[in-house]
């Protein structure tokens, strides 16, 4: 046994190491299964998968990459949250501060934004792939519904984040995007039949979204909380359901 192997052996056989990792490293079928089942993160996978389901030309890797982009936005987002205050007086100045003074501030902001855009493209392509392979067919109908909800949440996550830089692009894009709400039938003050319900500019669907009749500081705080806490929380719960269902039902594939 070479010295290097001895050191490795000492580490891997130590009590501390064995307390953390419950599987060995020899390339045996048992260890391969243990690698997955005894690890809380890898445990998202089944221990074994159908051969065809691993191939990239089958999955396009799009579901996993959507999740990866979610993780990237979460990590970079936490970094940005240290320097950003969701207050109308400070928000824009904090953006400038973040871009010019913070170490890696600009890079973190860029990665956050581009990962968010990429996440939307990936989730659309993921849906397209799942449609093409008919993977929503029984018994996976419910997981398709969860996926549709996650698609909507992805768009909402990106949309609420769009306001936070508090620049011209932000407030006008969000204004245009939210004006739909005031046209909701019954619930928006410009929508059909609004006069029968009694909604008005400061008491309708859009005002509920904005926290007031117009986009203002209240909207910034509201969107910040939706963006950083509420929607990620709901999306995480739905993702857990989504992944768990895949694990339960297995990857779709032709019957043997």
């Amino acid at each position: 046994m070479s010295p290097l192997e001895k050191i490795k052996n000492d580490i891997v056989e130590s009590q501390v190491w064995k307390a953390i990792f419950r599987h060995g490293y020899d390339d045996t079928p048992r260890n391969r299964v243990m690698m997955v089942t005894s690890n809380v993160f890898l445990h998202l996978h089944p221990a074994k998968v159908r051969r065809h389901a691993v191939r990239m030309r089958f999955t396009w890797c799009m579901g996993g990459l959507t999740f990866l982009m979610f993780l990237m936005t979460a990590i970079t987002g936490i970094y940005l949250m240290f320097y950003y205050r969701p207050v109308a007086e400070y928000a824009y100045a904090d953006m400038k501060y973040l871009e010019f003074d913070m170490p890696f501030g600009m890079l973190m902001r860029n990665m956050h934004r581009w990962a968010a855009h990429a996440m939307i493209v990936f989730v659309w392509l993921h849906m397209f792939r799942v449609f093409l392979t008919g993977s929503y067919k029984p018994p996976r109908e419910f997981n398709w519904i969860v996926g549709v909800l996650l698609l909507v949440l992805t768009l909402l996550l990106s949309f609420t984040g769009y306001l936070l830089p508090w620049d011209q692009l932000a407030i006008w894009a969000v204004t245009v995007g939210s004006n739909m709400a005031r046209a909701s039938p019954l619930l928006g003050y410009e929508g059909p039949f609004a006069e029968f319900v009694g909604v008005n500019p400061i008491y309708d669907a859009r005002a509920f979204l904005f926290g007031g009749g117009e986009i203002g500081p209240h909207t910034l705080l509201r969107f910040y909380i939706l963006h950083c806490i509420f929607i990620p929380l709901v999306a995480s719960i739905l993702m857990a359901v989504h992944f768990w269902r895949i694990r339960r039902d297995g990857f779709s594939g032709p019957s043997l």
């Binding site: 398709w144 739909m180 929508g191 032709p254 043997l256």
Partner: protein, 255 residues
């Protein structure tokens, strides 16, 4: 694919270990994508314009790019329809897909032949209606939401003649209530006509047995969703070809 697998008599258990086969693939793909994302982020900065100013409306005001398909629909329908009803129906339409598509074939493998109409419908809705309208909204819309070529100068004073008229007016109906009644009739005729066409089409392509197995509930949900989906290109055609503004005009809603 399913047949050929049986022909070749593959072993029943075609499973491989997740570790290392799948985990290795995920790791490598994640690595490459993260490298790409990092390079992209190092080269292209996220936009930051001047500070928010509620008194200074940019022209054009564009929604985030992924909603520009919805904003593009605002050209053809009123906000309550294009911004609320149609997006809701898009979501509903996506949700019902697994329940209206009862074709057992094509579950878990790529196959165009057995699911031709399903795949063509999805491609039409996703690639044509959704993606193309996003591209139009992103690259071909300028001040006043007028059409511009991407390389064309954005002339804020571009004069566009407002020649759109309502369909009943175009057909010579001048009475208010007759026009409303005609509009209602036209919309009803569109839906009934579409459902009739759809019935004939399903009967011709899939046959009577299929229709009986499919059931009236699935047939009606699918037909209505498709009718709503096709109403967008229909309205676009009426607008672009005949300058039709509304089909149905009432004191409460216009379509």
């Amino acid at each position: 694919m399913a047949e050929s697998a049986q022909e070749r008599k593959l072993p029943v258990d075609d499973k491989i270990h997740t570790w290392p086969h799948l985990v290795r693939m995920e790791f490598l793909v994640a690595l490459f994508v993260l490298i790409g994302l990092t390079i992209w982020s190092l080269t292209i900065d996220a936009p930051l314009e001047e500070p928010a100013n509620p008194t200074k409306t940019p022209n054009p005001s564009k929604a985030p790019w992924y909603f520009l398909g919805l904003q593009e629909m605002l050209v053809y329908f009123d906000p309550w329809h294009a911004g609320v009803v149609l997006p809701t129906l898009i979501i509903v339409g996506l949700v019902v897909i697994p329940f209206i598509d009862t074709n057992p074939k094509g579950n878990g493998y790529y196959c165009f032949k057995d699911r031709k109409w399903e795949i063509l419908t999805f491609i039409f809705g996703f690639h044509i209606l959704w993606v193309v309208t996003i591209i139009i909204g992103t690259f071909f819309r300028g001040p006043g939401w007028n059409l511009f070529w991407p390389w064309q100068f954005w002339d804020t004073h571009k004069v566009v003649a407002l020649t759109n008229v309502d369909l009943p007016y175009l057909l010579g109906i001048r009475s208010y209530w007759v026009a409303a009644a005609f509009g209602l009739f036209a919309i009803g005729a569109y839906f009934i006509g579409w459902m009739g066409f759809f019935y004939w089409f399903v009967l011709k392509v899939k046959g009577k047995d299929f229709l009986e197995r499919w059931g009236m509930v699935r047939f009606n949900i699918t037909g209505v969703i498709l009718a709503v989906m096709m109403s967008l290109p229909a309205k676009m055609f009426l607008r672009l070809a005949f300058n039709v503004k509304y089909i149905l005009v009432t004191p409460w809603i216009n379509i």
